[in-house]
């Protein structure tokens, strides 16, 4: 069927081979460019997480940020008041189970509870139709910076100097001087105090998102969870106690569930939607979407929140990301952090084994 009769060799064989080589190399180079190998100065999620690790040290098996925390469980009871602003069934009245996590910012799982004046609250809402809403909130009014690059630069500027083991105050000062957008955060943190309890804190989304209603209209929002009955301090932790938050939570839960109201804050026209360094005025319309009820807590080492990546871009229909660049950067960096700790958990080749919790 095939004739072995050879046709004469084509003209300019060398040129033809060169053309083939060129096409193959061009394809490989395009792939390398997209993958970031040709632009080592480009900010990648890996570099962000490397910077966080350099700042807090490596703690195999733990999150690269918000490493110290505790799992909580309960449910969200929707009021129905938000249903006309978002088509998500989550906001129609009814109950949705939640898996949450209360934590400290920072990558050190052994940090003292008083080492930072900020606490965080992450929630995963498991909707009946298989959709999820994941949100990570912080007990502070604004984010220090508005872009991923500035966050990376801030992390580097405040990391311990390898020579001294301590952050270099000049570097931090230079960073803040060259980033005036950090003003509102610096103004707030000057007077912020480490709270003696997770329960009495108000946690904020900080980043703005959009709700989309059943008619397809978008509404820019931020949200916060506000404790229903703030309890006046019970004297606070004993002097020298560095692990009081978990004990406090356990004590409070023994007396009954703790409750926060999920308050959705609607932007007014002109409010900054894509910049997490700018707060909205206090008088914005606020809708009480329902109550987050927490009735159980478990150590994170084996609790249900351990393997949850609280990626803020995992949203049900009816909630959408805004153009705030920090949201997407969080998603990208959380994915890297998640792979690192699950890889350590799974004893992947080349990963450090998680240490036994020594406390």
């Amino acid at each position: 069927m095939q004739e072995p009769k050879k046709r004469p060799p084509p003209a300019n064989v060398a040129g033809r081979w060169a053309l083939i080589g060129l096409v193959v190399v061009a394809a490989a180079a395009a792939f390398a460019y997209v993958g970031g190998w040709l632009t080592p100065s480009r900010l990648t999620p890996k570099r962000v997480v490397d910077a966080l690790q350099a700042s807090s040290g490596e703690h195999p098996g733990y999150r690269r940020n918000h490493a110290k925390g505790i799992c909580v469980g309960g449910y969200f009871e929707a009021s129905g008041a938000l249903a006309k602003y978002s088509s998500s069934p989550l906001f129609a009245s009814g109950r949705t189970p939640v898996v949450g996590r209360l934590a400290l910012p920072g990558g050190n799982p052994y940090a003292a509870d008083s080492s930072v004046p900020i606490r965080s609250f992450a929630l995963r809402f498991d909707l009946a139709d298989g959709e999820q809403w994941r949100t990570g909130m912080n007990a502070m009014p604004v984010f220090p910076v508005s872009t991923p690059q500035a966050f990376y630069d801030l992390t580097v500027a405040t990391s311990p100097d390898p020579a001294t083991g301590k952050p270099n105050p000049d570097k931090a000062k230079a960073f803040f001087m060259s980033h005036p957008e950090t003003g509102p955060f610096l103004g707030w943190i000057k007077t912020a105090k480490p709270a003696p309890s997770y329960v009495d804190e108000t946690y904020q989304s900080i980043n703005a998102f959009y709700l989309r209603d059943a008619n397809g209209e978008r509404h820019a929002v931020r949200w916060k969870v506000v404790p229903e009955t703030p309890v006046a301090g019970d004297g606070g932790p004993a002097a020298g106690d560095t692990d009081y938050l978990d004990a406090d939570l356990t004590r409070r839960l023994a007396q009954g569930p703790v409750r926060w109201h999920l308050q959705m804050i609607l932007a007014a026209p002109g409010d900054p939607v894509d910049d997490a360094t700018k707060a909205w005025p206090d008088d914005r319309q606020t809708i009480d979407a329902g109550v987050v009820v927490i009735d159980s807590a478990q150590p994170q080492a084996n609790g249900p929140c351990r393997d949850v990546n609280y990626d803020p871009t995992i949203l049900p229909h009816g909630i959408e990301i805004s153009g705030d660049p920090i949201i997407v950067a969080r998603s990208a960096a959380y994915a890297v952090s998640y792979l690192r700790r699950t890889g350590e958990e799974g004893h992947l080749p080349g990963t450090a084994h998680p240490k036994e919790d020594q406390r």
Partner: protein, 179 residues
């Protein structure tokens, strides 16, 4: 000349359509995992539905390939080249089917909703488990590399057939004249 028949038109349409989709998919994947900007989110939103589309088309294509004979390779091709040609083709088929399954399984193991578009999820196909997630995530990465390298070899070999050997193998897929 060593005349080679052409592929069935349906096979040719699938081949070129899927070549664009697979190549797009590999670039989207590489860009997605190395970006922190807004494009990270939209690349991710392309990656999942495109992956499932490739998976479905790959199954259709495999079915068609098993029921329709491919044109034979030229008789004067060295044996090792024939082996490489067959091996790389089955590798490409395997990866087109395996990669979407690993991606789907990896999201299932990580207990992520397998969202194709807002409001539409696929059910999980594996139990949740962090170790399983990590192994599948790394398999997805390394097999993507293998996929791209196999593609480069495939494209280089096709050009070699068309430009150097001029034996009708490239035309069997382009459908062009052998002369």
């Amino acid at each position: 000349m060593s005349r080679v028949d052409t592929f069935h038109p349906f096979a040719r349409v699938l081949h070129w359509l899927m070549s664009i989709m697979v190549l797009t998919m590999l670039f989207v994947g590489a860009g997605m995992v190395t970006s922190v900007e807004a494009k990270h989110a939209w690349l991710l939103s392309i990656h999942r539905p495109l992956g499932i589309t490739i998976f479905i088309l790959a199954l259709i294509r495999l079915g068609f390939r098993l029921t329709h004979k491919a044109p034979p390779l030229p008789a004067d091709m060295p044996e090792w080249q024939k082996l490489a040609a067959h091996g790389s083709h089955w590798m490409l088929y395997g990866l087109m089917i395996l990669m979407p399954l690993i991606g789907w399984g990896m999201l299932s193991a990580g207990n992520f909703p397998v969202t194709l578009w807002s409001g539409f999820q696929l059910p999980p196909i594996l139990p949740a488990g962090p170790a399983l997630y990590a192994w599948l995530r790394e398999a997805h990465r390394y097999l993507a590399w293998l996929f791209f390298l196999t593609f480069l070899a495939h494209m280089g070999a096709a050009l070699m057939h068309g430009l150097i050997r001029r034996d009708g193998v490239l035309q069997s897929m382009t459908g062009g004249s052998n002369d």
